[in-house]
């Protein structure tokens, strides 16, 4: 396509401090972009606001959470139940304990000390357990926290697997006799 000579384009005769303006039509693609966004805007508004066909953000979240619950239930049905024994067994598995150590270092060590010796939180190395020393008790404490004492609920943040791993890591410092 040959460019039209610029000097032939329509120009407004008025000049402002020497500045002149061409009187060119709006570029078609530009105009189409403008119209396109307006049409989209109206359609979006009708879909989400006026007819309510589109879900609100609260409804979207509920849907996502429901899907997650389903997936969890499914996983739970096929998974072995977590018991004191299964957690003790995990505490002897070096791979799991190593994974638990990782979680412990990033999540727990700040309060319970790098070697479980305690600090802001209680010691996890001694035989004293505020909320019960059975593996399942410890798991529950990690999972739900103890808000009164400032122990956050780590279950939702870490998820079942990481909680089990970190419990296994803690248990690996104890023996079943305790």
């Amino acid at each position: 396509m040959k460019e039209k000579n610029i000097s032939e384009e329509p120009i407004r005769h008025h000049s402002y401090d020497g500045i002149q303006e061409f009187d060119k039509n709006l570029p078609r693609w530009w105009l189409m972009t403008l119209y396109g966004t307006v049409v989209f805007a109206v359609a979006y508004w009708i879909y989400y606001q006026q007819t309510g066909i589109g879900l609100t953000q609260g409804e979207e979240l509920e849907l996502a959470l429901a899907t997650i619950e389903d997936a969890k239930a499914e996983a739970l049905a096929s998974a072995d139940e977590v018991t004191d024994e299964s957690l003790w067994a995990m505490s002897l598995n070096t791979v799991i304990v190593e994974a638990g150590k990782q979680v412990y270092t990033t999540t727990c060590a700040a309060c319970h000390g790098p070697n479980l010796e305690g600090g802001i939180g209680v010691s996890l190395a001694d035989a004293e357990w505020v909320h019960g020393g059975n593996p399942l008790d410890i798991r529950k404490t990690v999972y739900d926290g103890s808000l009164a004492k400032g122990m956050p609920a780590w279950g939702p943040v870490l998820g079942d697997e990481r909680v089990d791993e970190v419990v296994a890591y803690v248990l690996s410092h104890h023996s079943a006799v305790n």
Partner: protein, 772 residues
């Protein structure tokens, strides 16, 4: 009639002053920017002192670059170009001088108060109330000086640059005043009159449009004058100027809520924010096209002329940023990008690329003219250009990668809702190298800017200040007067107003009202179409006439920028507060918690921490249930935040014990290894200002927060006894600290974050009672 000729001298002294002030403050603002960026990687740069901590310096950076650097640059450009475009000397030398010195005084007082922790706690609106009043007054002075100059103009017709200046002046006044409405509790402290969601909406109506009408429209005006001047080419398209000006000023105002997507802001406002942002794309690009295409036939000049280089790159960055803006306003994109560095990158593409480069181009253009000499060194200016360009690209690319990385990490969860990265710090560690690249990019940009300062200094040395002048022929003005009434009954206005009102009826109404609106929209559109098919040329003539009448033009601009704000804000601030709380209601603060909250605001915690959990699986798992409107209803100012350099705090209350917070505020990196949060040792030394509490509480009561009617004594006693409780608890946990230290109040505040009344229980109860 005899034609008298006389020579009139422009007031260029004021232009020189504003220009130099802009360069000086630009260096200061950018230096603070590089410092705060470096603080995020190197904690020691907070120097463990309150006056230099990130939370206090970041507002200093933003305020300095917006109001001091761009503000002064804009005043220089507006004053210089307006005098020439309207063929008149600035109306008042006194007002010009007053404007200049008062503005510098405001900047200096901002630079003192912000590091002192005196702040209103709202982004880009941090300055305390006495300074707010000064800013409003100076703006009025500016407006008087400007419109007075228009009043004595010899060029009747207003050039497009002037349209943009008019829009700037009236809109900034409106935004600034509404968002700064507050009630003082002391000489240096006040509470904004809006709270919670209302404050959030007003804040972003202001914040977004500060970008629009402080950083964009005046610079577009400047582009329309200096770019064709420097290129010596006619502007690409006058029609495009008309269409993009009016669509820009009308649409921009509506887009503010895109800063609050996926928050507790009501859905209809979020939708408006998103769709108007998308519609803003073309009007913004209209400005870019008119800038870039004006260079047609002058591209070869870019090689030689640094001024045009800066302009061409600046306009290109404008186009890039105004494409990115609508993109980021899409709800699902915002879900990823909000609270991350992507937004920081977006803003800097606009400020460094568009504002900074347009400023540089203008300064290089002006300096030789204002001092009647040649630019000291063109190679140095070219070096500035390339350093700046590489700096911006490095900065923006680093922030893109950082934002997308952190967004994906934080939002990532598997099908069972288990977070991929449960530890927030892990996401921070992953973006640290990118934060480093930002420092390098910003540093390069600053070096380039310093080169410019040197170059301009040397240029000034080689010349001496000279004021421009022009010869006029005194004639009787021949303009045709267009009264306001006549303007408002013109077809162009009536069709536009009709379409706006009927569209609102159609889209916001219900039932028959909505259908009537739809019918009316179509009828108006058809009528307008038919009208302009028949007599399209008349519109051009009418518009030419409008351009000769600045008063009706200004009124039309005001109407265009009013609509969006009125439709969005008025319904939200006039509704009964209880009807928009969703199902939770905040528990009002105790006096001590309020004192702690004011410390939170004063330390600028909101610069790194949000208090708004979005309704996503990942956020609900990480931070707890999503935030409801009612949970911040008593918050003056709201503290939803806009960036998460640290985790959200909306439900941090009760998550850890007091001792954790004590240690964390003193040495964050010990509790959270790798954290870049500054230490706050001064909170452990300074005393709580109990005596300020009664006046604060009485102001909050005026604002509708349901505090009990305590006496002053009761307020202070309540605060002291709660402080004692916390000090005792800390002592049990092995931390000995005196009751009256500020840290105690801050812990009290942090520990109640997220406490609310569950109204669902009450509503259920109410229902059962009704049934009985």
């Amino acid at each position: 009639m005899t034609i008298k000729k006389r020579t009139i001298e422009y007031n260029d002294q004021i232009v020189r002053q504003f220009m130099l002030a802009s360069i000086v403050w630009g260096i200061v603002g950018m230096l603070v920017g590089v410092l705060v960026a470096a603080q995020l990687n190197f904690k020691f740069l907070n120097f463990n002192t309150e006056y230099l901590s990130f939370g206090r310096l970041r507002p200093l950076h933003t305020n300095a670059v917006i109001f001091a650097f761009v503000g002064n640059m804009m005043f220089a450009g507006v004053y210089h170009s307006t005098q020439r475009l309207v063929k008149a000397r600035l109306a008042s030398d006194f007002l010009s001088k007053f404007h200049f010195w008062a503005w510098q005084l405001i900047i200096a007082s901002a630079a003192i108060t912000l590091p002192l922790g005196l702040t209103r706690g709202k982004e880009y609106a941090e300055l305390i109330w006495p300074i707010n009043i000064a800013v409003a007054l100076v703006w009025v002075i500016f407006a008087i000086n400007f419109f007075w100059t228009l009043g004595i103009r010899r060029e009747r017709s207003l050039y497009v640059a002037i349209w943009f200046y008019i829009a700037t002046i009236i809109t900034v006044a409106m935004l600034y005043i509404v968002n700064h409405l507050s009630i003082p509790t002391s000489l240096t402290h006040s509470y904004p009159i809006f709270g919670g969601v209302q404050d959030a909406l007003v804040q972003w109506w202001y914040g977004h449009n500060a970008v629009a009408f402080f950083l964009t429209t005046p610079i577009l005006g400047i582009m329309y004058y200096y770019l064709p001047k420097a290129a010596n080419r006619p502007v690409y398209s006058y029609r495009l100027s008309v269409v993009h000006f009016w669509s820009l000023v009308f649409i921009y105002i509506w887009a503010g809520p895109h800063h609050l997507l996926n928050t507790a802001l009501p859905g209809w406002l979020q939708s408006l924010g998103m769709i108007f942002s998308l519609m803003l794309w073309a009007p913004s690009w209209g400005g870019m096209l008119n800038g870039l295409l004006t260079l047609r036939g002058a591209w070869d000049k870019l090689r030689k002329d640094p001024v045009l280089k800066f302009f061409a790159a600046g306009v290109t960055f404008y186009g890039m940023a105004t494409f990115e803006g609508p993109l980021l306003s899409i709800r699902s994109v915002s879900a990823l990008a909000h609270y991350t560095d992507w937004i920081i990158g977006h803003v800097h593409a606009g400020t460094l690329g568009w504002n900074g480069f347009m400023a540089a181009g203008m300064f290089y253009f002006l300096a030789p003219k204002l001092w009647k000499t040649k630019l000291y060194s063109t190679p140095l200016a070219n070096l500035h250009f390339w350093l700046g360009l590489v700096g911006i690209l490095l900065y923006v690319a680093a922030m893109w990668i950082s934002g997308i990385t952190q967004g994906l990490m934080l939002n990532g969860a598997d099908s069972k809702g288990i977070l991929n990265y449960p530890n927030f710090l892990e996401t921070l560690q992953s973006i640290r190298p990118l934060m480093g690249f930002r420092v390098i990019g910003g540093g390069l940009y600053l070096i380039g800017f310093l080169l410019m300062a040197y170059n301009i200094c040397m240029t000034i040395k080689s010349g001496k200040p000279v004021n421009g002048s022009f010869e006029v022929e005194e004639e009787e003005p021949t303009a045709e007067r267009l009264t306001l009434i006549k303007t408002l009954v013109s077809p162009a206005f009536l069709y536009s107003a009709g379409l706006t009102v009927f569209s609102c009826m159609w889209l916001m109404g219900a039932g028959a009202f909505s259908i009537a609106g739809l019918v009316l929209v179509f009828m108006t559109a058809l009528l307008a179409y038919a009208h302009y098919q028949k007599s399209g040329a008349n519109f051009g003539k009418w518009y030419d006439k409008l351009l000769e009448n600045s008063f009706p033009f200004t009124v039309l601009t005001l109407l265009a920028v009013l609509v969006g704000g009125v439709v969005q804000i008025v319904p939200l601030v006039t509704v009964d507060r209880d009807s928009i709380v969703e199902d939770r209601m905040q528990v009002p603060y105790t006096p001590l918690e309020l004192a702690g909250r004011d410390l939170y605001v004063s330390e600028g915690c909101y610069n790194c921490h949000s208090q708004m959990i979005r309704p996503f699986v990942s956020e609900v798992k990480r931070y707890g249930d999503y935030s409801r409107l009612g949970e911040s209803v008593y918050d003056h100012p709201y503290q939803w935040g806009s960036r998460r350099i640290g985790p959200d705090l909306a439900r941090v209350g009760g998550k850890y014990n007091d001792s954790w917070h004590y240690d964390h505020m003193l040495k964050p990196e010990q509790i959270s290894p790798g954290s870049n949060m500054p230490s706050y040792p001064w909170l452990f030394k300074k005393d709580i200002d109990y005596s300020a509490l009664p006046s604060k509480i009485s102001v909050q009561q005026t604002l509708g927060v349901p505090f009990e009617n305590w006496t002053d004594q009761e307020v202070i006693e309540s605060a002291q006894s709660q402080a004692q409780e916390i000090a005792d608890r800390l002592s049990e946990q092995g931390k000995e600290i005196e009751r009256d230290r500020e840290i105690i109040a801050l812990i009290a505040y942090l520990q109640q974050l997220g406490k609310s009344e569950d109204l669902r229980v009450d509503m259920a109860k109410a229902k059962t009672t009704n049934n009985l």
